[in-house]
C-alpha cells in the first residue's frame, strides 16, 4: 500500500497534530506515504469565490503531480479533499473547464488524465487496511473512552463515496475497534461554522456551542474530528462559546490521535500536548496508560 500524501496548508500550521498522528498511524500499519513533490495550495473553497476557474487549475496541478507516480492521493484535510474531488468532477462534467485546466497544466509541462483517486484517510484505513487488521495491532485499548464522532461537512458531502452521506459511520467503526465507546451524536454531520468564526464571530460561536453542548449532553468525554478547521473551532473557542451560552470542557482530538494512541504511540509524538483542553484527566480516569 503506497499513496501520494497531500498534507495541505493547515496540516503545516494549526493542524500539525493531525499530520503527526496520521504519520504515526500509517507507520504502525505499514501504509507507505510519499509527500507529493512541491504540492501547492488546493485553492480551498475560499479561492472559488474569487476566481473559480483558477482554483480548478491550482487543484489540478496537485492531481497531475500525483498522477505521474500513478498513485491515489491521501488528502486528510476536509477542504482539500473536497476541492480536489470537485475539480475531478468538474473536469469530467464541463468540457470548458476541462479545456481551461488542461491548457494551464500544459503551460507548465503537466498533463492530467483523470486517473488519480482522491481519498480520505478514513477511507484508506477502513477499506484498504481493514478494521480487523487495525484491531489486531491495538496495544493500548481505549477502555470504553466515550467518544462523540464528529465528521463535519466536506468529508461526506457532496462527493464522498466511502460512507453514508446522512449517517456516516466509518470513524465509529475504526474507533470502536480500538476500544472506544461511540456515543450517539445526531449532529455528527452538522457544520461547525467553518471560517465564519473568523469573519462573523457571533454566528460561529452559536454553531460551535450547539456541537459542544450536544456532545456533552450525550456523555461524550472526547470529540473526535477529521478536519483541521473543525478541530480548531471546537477547541479554541470552547471557552468563548461557553461564556456566551453554557460552559463545556471537552477535549477535541483528531481521530488519528486516538488511533495512534491505541496503536501505542507516545503522546508527545502525536501532538497531544498541542491541545488547549487538557486530555490527561480523561485518559487517566479511563486508566489508559501510555505505552
Amino acid at each position: 500500500m503506497r499513496y501520494a500524501y497531500y498534507p495541505g496548508c493547515s496540516l503545516r500550521g494549526t493542524g500539525r497534530a493531525y499530520e503527526e498522528s496520521l504519520v504515526a498511524v500509517f507507520r504502525a500499519l505499514s501504509v507507505e506515504i510519499e509527500e507529493i513533490d512541491d504540492w501547492n495550495c488546493c485553492g480551498a473553497t475560499t479561492y472559488m469565490s474569487v476566481d473559480e476557474l483558477t482554483s480548478y487549475a491550482l487543484a489540478a496541478r496537485n492531481l497531475a503531480l500525483a498522477e505521474r507516480d500513478h498513485t491515489d492521493i491521501i488528502a486528510p484535510c476536509a477542504a482539500c479533499y473536497l476541492v480536489l474531488n470537485k475539480t475531478q468532477h468538474y473536469m469530467r462534467e464541463y468540457p470548458s473547464i476541462h479545456l481551461v485546466v488542461t491548457r494551464a497544466l500544459g503551460a507548465i509541462g503537466l498533463t492530467y488524465k483523470g486517473r488519480v483517486k482522491v481519498r480520505h484517510p478514513l477511507d484508506i484505513l477502513l477499506n484498504d487496511v481493514g478494521v480487523e487488521a487495525i484491531a489486531a495491532k491495538v496495544k493500548v485499548p481505549l477502555n470504553g473512552l466515550k467518544v462523540a464522532p464528529y465528521y463535519g461537512c466536506q468529508i461526506v458531502r457532496p462527493y464522498a463515496t466511502f460512507d453514508d452521506q446522512r449517517d456516516p459511520t466509518s470513524m465509529d467503526r475504526l474507533l470502536s475497534a480500538c476500544g472506544a465507546k461511540i456515543v450517539r451524536y445526531p449532529l455528527k454531520t452538522r457544520c461547525c461554522g467553518g471560517s465564519q468564526k473568523g469573519t462573523l464571530p457571533e454566528v460561529g460561536l452559536d454553531l460551535i456551542h450547539y456541537l459542544l453542548m450536544e456532545a456533552q449532553k450525550n456523555g461524550a468525554e472526547v470529540i473526535s474530528t477529521v478536519c483541521p478547521l473543525c478541530q480548531f473551532n471546537l477547541e479554541s473557542f470552547q471557552k468563548e462559546a461557553g461564556d456566551r451560552h453554557h460552559p463545556t470542557s471537552i477535549p477535541v482530538l483528531y481521530f488519528s490521535q486516538l488511533l495512534a494512541l491505541a496503536l501505542g504511540a507516545a503522546p508527545d509524538s502525536i501532538g497531544l500536548q498541542r491541545g488547549f483542553v487538557p486530555i490527561e484527566p480523561v485518559l487517566a480516569g479511563r486508566e489508559i496508560t501510555y505505552a
Binding site: 453514508d164 446522512r166 449517517d167 445526531p186 449532529l187 450547539y210 450536544e214
Partner: protein, 669 residues
C-alpha cells in the same frame, strides 16, 4: 388544397400520396406543400395532395374519392404514428373497395415534426420517408385479417377495491369471472383505512358489502392466497395457470368459526400482524381481519410450532373437531383457465421511509407512517381506535409531514396525488380523537376533486396549522427548554420566510405511493409495458387509459399510477366495460402478419423449428419440409430472418418490401 400532380403511369401501381398538416403540428415544421409536390413526381404516383386534417371526415372522403376517380390501387398517408391512425385509414381504403393492406403510413409527426427544429432537414427527412413508402407500397399484397372467436370469461388479478369493482361489474353482466388475490383475503389497502376523504364515510361500511358480494356471487370464482404463474395465448383466448398456495386449511370445510384460533397453543399472538402493520401481534393460525372474505383461517407456516418442530399438541385440530378442516399435509395446487380478457388491478405499495436521520422513522418510536396511523385511528385497529403513542400517552401536538417519497429526485419524482387529501383526513381524525394541535407541513396543497377543496377549507376552520415548507429534519435535539423530550420538526415556513422549529409528540409521515415491488415481474408475465417509474403503461394516456399495448389486457386502479378510491373505481368500471365490449363482439380480428414456408424452397434443415417460442413451426416428415401453423404464429418474423435458404416469408414484412424501404430512404432522387 391544390392538386399537385395528376399523371398517368405505365406501371400497374397507381399510388395516391396524402400529406397531412395536422393543423400546425406537422405543417409548422415540415414544408407540406414541398413534400406533396415532391411525392407527386415520384414514379407510379398518380395523385399527391396535402390537407389540413387527413383523418377528418373530409380528409378521408378525399382519399375515397381519389381511389374511385383515379383508379388508385395503392395509398400512402404521411401523417401521425401508424399506431394511432393506421386502422382509420385502412378502413378508408376498405370503404373505397381497396384491400386495407394496400396502405402504407409514414410517421412524419411523432418521428419528424415534433422532434426536429430545422425545417429544411425535417422536410428532407419526410421526403426520404415518403419515397421509401411509395417504393414499398407498390409491393404490398392484399391480405385478410384472421377472425378468431373469443372466450367470454375474464380474469381479474388483484382483489383491492379496483379488482372487486371490476369483477362485480362483469359478473353482474353475466360473465364468468376468475378473481385472483395473493393475500388470504380480498379488500386491499382500502380495508385498512378508517374513514375515506372527503365525505368521511367509514371505509369498512362501504367496502365490506362489496367484498361479501364477491364472495357469494355465482359468477365469480374467488381464488385468494393464489398467484397467476403462467399466461399463454392471445386476445380472446388466453390460457392462465393459477397457483393456490397451501393455507393448511381446507377451504371447502372451514366455516370461519375461529375456534381453532382460540384453541391455539399460543395464548398470545407473537407474530407481527400484517394487517395492523406490526402494531399488534397475531397467532400462527389467524383470520387477517374480522370482515375478511373468504371467512377462512390460514396457518402461517413460519410461525406454527407444528411446522417448526412437528411436536405441537395441535389443539387447533382438536377444536375443529369433526369438521376436520385443518390439514397440515396440504400442498400447493394449480388451476388452469381459459379467458378472453384480463384485467390487472394489482395496486400499489406505500413508500417505506428509510430509517436514517432525516425523518427519524425507525429511530424515534413516535414517528409513524400514515398507514400505521390509519390503523391507530380505526376502531377495529390495535388500540381500538384510541390514538396513543407507543408509551400509552396521548399526543398533545402532532406534525404531519407531506411528500415523503414523493416529488423528490432522491426517492420518487412523482406527486402521489392522494397524500394531501389523506393528510387532511388524518389531521381531522387525530384532532377529533385527541384534541391535539396539528401541524401540516406541505409543499403545495393539492386538492383537485369534487368536494376536496371544501374539505381543506373545513380543516382550516378547525384550526389545524398549515406550514408551507418541506421538512428538513425530525430530531430530538433540543435547543430551547420547550423542546426537551419532544420531537422537533425543523422546516422553513416559506410563507413567513424564516425557519421554524416545532416541537411535537407524534410525527406522521405522509408516505407516497409506489409501484408494487414485483410490478416488473407481473408485467413480464402478462407481456405489457411499464413506465420508467414502474407503473403499468396505458395504451394512450387520454384516449385509451385502461388498455395496454397487448390486446385483451386491461389495467385498473393504482397499478397504473397513484389514484384515490373514486378514480380507482371509475377505472375499474371502464376496464370492465372495455373487456365486455371485447368479449361481447364474440370474435376478434388478428393482424395477418404471420409467416409461412415456401415449400419448394425449404431445404428441411429444421433450423427454424427451435426458434419459435410458440411452437408454431413443425417439421413435417412426409414432405421433409417445415410448416408454420398460422393460428399459433404471432408474426414476430424471427424465423424469417433466420432461414438460411430464405424460404420463410412474412405477410406485410416481406424481405422485398423491407429492402425497398431501406433503399428508398437512402436513395436521393
Amino acid at each position: 388544397m391544390p392538386d399537385v400532380a395528376i399523371q398517368s403511369n405505365p406501371e400497374s401501381s397507381r399510388i395516391g400520396v396524402y400529406v397531412c398538416h395536422c393543423g400546425t403540428n406537422i405543417a409548422g415544421t415540415v414544408d407540406v406543400r414541398k413534400l406533396a409536390a415532391y411525392a407527386g413526381q415520384l414514379p407510379n404516383v398518380v395523385v399527391s395532395r396535402e390537407y389540413k386534417y387527413m383523418c377528418s371526415d373530409p380528409g378521408q372522403a378525399l382519399i375515397e374519392q381519389d381511389i374511385a376517380e383515379h383508379k388508385l390501387n395503392r395509398v400512402v398517408v404521411a401523417s401521425c404514428s401508424p399506431l394511432l391512425h393506421e386502422p382509420t385509414f385502412r378502413r378508408t381504403l376498405g370503404r373505397a373497395g381497396l384491400n386495407p393492406f394496400l396502405l402504407q403510413m409514414v410517421n412524419i409527426r411523432e418521428h419528424v415534426s415534433w422532434v426536429h427544429l430545422d425545417k429544411q432537414a425535417a422536410t428532407q427527412k419526410t421526403e426520404d420517408l415518403v419515397r421509401a413508402a411509395v417504393r414499398r407500397v407498390s409491393l404490398h399484397k392484399p391480405l385478410e385479417k384472421r377472425r378468431v372467436s373469443i372466450n367470454p370469461s375474464v380474469l381479474v388479478v388483484g382483489g383491492g377495491i379496483a379488482g372487486i369493482h371490476a369483477a362485480l361489474t362483469l359478473a353482474e353482466a353475466g360473465k364468468q369471472v376468475y378473481l385472483v388475490e395473493r393475500e388470504p383475503t380480498i379488500g386491499g389497502h382500502m380495508a385498512m383505512f378508517d374513514k375515506t376523504f372527503p365525505t368521511l364515510d367509514c371505509a369498512a361500511c362501504i367496502l365490506t358489502p362489496k367484498m361479501t358480494a364477491v364472495g357469494s356471487h355465482p359468477n365469480i370464482e374467488l381464488w385468494t392466497y393464489s398467484d397467476v404463474v403462467k399466461v399463454d395465448g392471445y386476445v380472446g383466448n388466453y390460457k392462465v395457470q393459477v397457483k393456490h398456495k397451501p393455507r393448511y386449511v381446507n377451504e371447502e370445510l372451514c366455516i370461519g368459526c375461529q375456534e381453532c384460533i382460540t384453541a391455539c397453543v399460543y395464548k398470545e399472538g407473537k407474530t407481527p400482524d400484517e394487517f395492523n402493520l406490526g402494531l399488534s401481534k397475531r397467532k400462527p393460525i389467524y383470520l387477517p381481519f374480522p370482515q375478511a372474505v373468504p371467512q377462512i383461517v390460514v396457518i402461517d407456516q413460519d410461525a406454527c410450532i407444528e411446522f417448526k418442530s412437528g411436536k405441537c399438541k395441535k389443539t387447533c385440530i382438536e377444536a375443529c373437531g369433526e369438521r376436520v378442516a385443518i390439514d397440515f399435509q396440504q400442498k400447493e395446487t394449480f388451476d388452469e383457465v381459459e379467458v378472453g380478457a384480463i384485467i390487472l388491478a394489482t395496486g400499489f405499495k406505500t413508500f417505506s421511509p428509510d430509517p436514517n436521520p432525516h425523518y427519524g422513522y425507525g429511530r424515534y418510536p413516535n414517528v409513524y407512517t400514515s398507514l400505521e396511523v390509519e390503523r391507530l385511528i380505526n376502531a377495529a385497529g390495535p388500540t381500538g381506535g384510541e390514538v396513543v403513542l407507543r408509551d400509552g400517552q396521548h399526543p398533545k401536538a402532532v406534525g404531519i409531514i407531506h411528500c415523503i417519497g414523493s416529488r423528490d429526485a432522491n426517492t420518487n419524482r412523482w406527486c402521489s396525488k392522494v397524500c394531501c387529501m389523506y393528510s387532511l383526513k388524518l389531521a381531522h381524525l387525530i384532532k377529533e380523537h385527541t384534541g391535539a394541535d396539528i401541524f401540516n407541513f406541505y409543499i403545495d396543497m393539492r386538492t383537485p376533486g369534487k368536494g376536496y377543496e371544501e374539505f381543506y377549507d373545513r380543516l382550516l376552520d378547525e384550526g389545524v396549522h398549515f406550514v408551507r415548507g418541506r421538512v428538513a429534519e425530525v430530531s430530538d435535539w433540543a435547543v430551547h427548554p420547550s423542546e426537551e423530550g419532544k420531537l422537533v420538526i425543523r422546516a422553513e415556513d416559506t410563507l413567513a420566510g424564516f425557519v421554524r422549529r416545532v416541537p411535537v409528540d407524534m410525527v406522521v409521515l405522509a408516505v407516497g405511493l409506489e409501484p408494487q415491488a414485483d410490478a416488473q415481474e407481473v408485467r413480464r408475465l402478462f407481456n405489457i409495458s411499464c413506465s420508467t417509474e414502474g407503473w403499468f403503461l396505458e395504451r394512450h394516456p387520454k384516449l385509451a387509459p385502461v388498455s395496454t399495448f397487448t390486446e385483451g389486457i386491461y389495467i385498473a386502479g393504482a397499478c397504473q399510477g397513484p389514484k384515490d378510491i373514486p378514480d380507482s373505481v371509475a377505472q375499474a368500471g371502464a376496464a370492465a366495460a372495455e373487456a365486455l365490449s371485447l368479449i361481447d363482439a364474440k370474435f376478434v380480428e388478428l393482424e395477418p402478419y404471420t409467416a409461412s414456408v415456401l415449400e419448394e424452397e425449404c431445404s428441411g434443415c429444421k433450423s427454424c423449428v427451435p426458434l419459435c417460442p410458440y411452437q408454431a413451426i413443425a417439421y413435417v416428415n412426409e414432405t421433409q419440409k417445415a410448416h408454420i401453423n398460422e393460428v399459433l404464429c404471432k408474426g414476430c418474423g424471427t424465423c424469417v430472418a433466420a432461414c438460411p435458404s430464405g424460404s420463410i416469408r412474412q405477410n406485410f414484412f416481406e424481405d422485398e418490401e423491407i429492402f425497398e424501404e431501406i433503399e428508398g430512404v437512402l436513395t436521393y432522387a
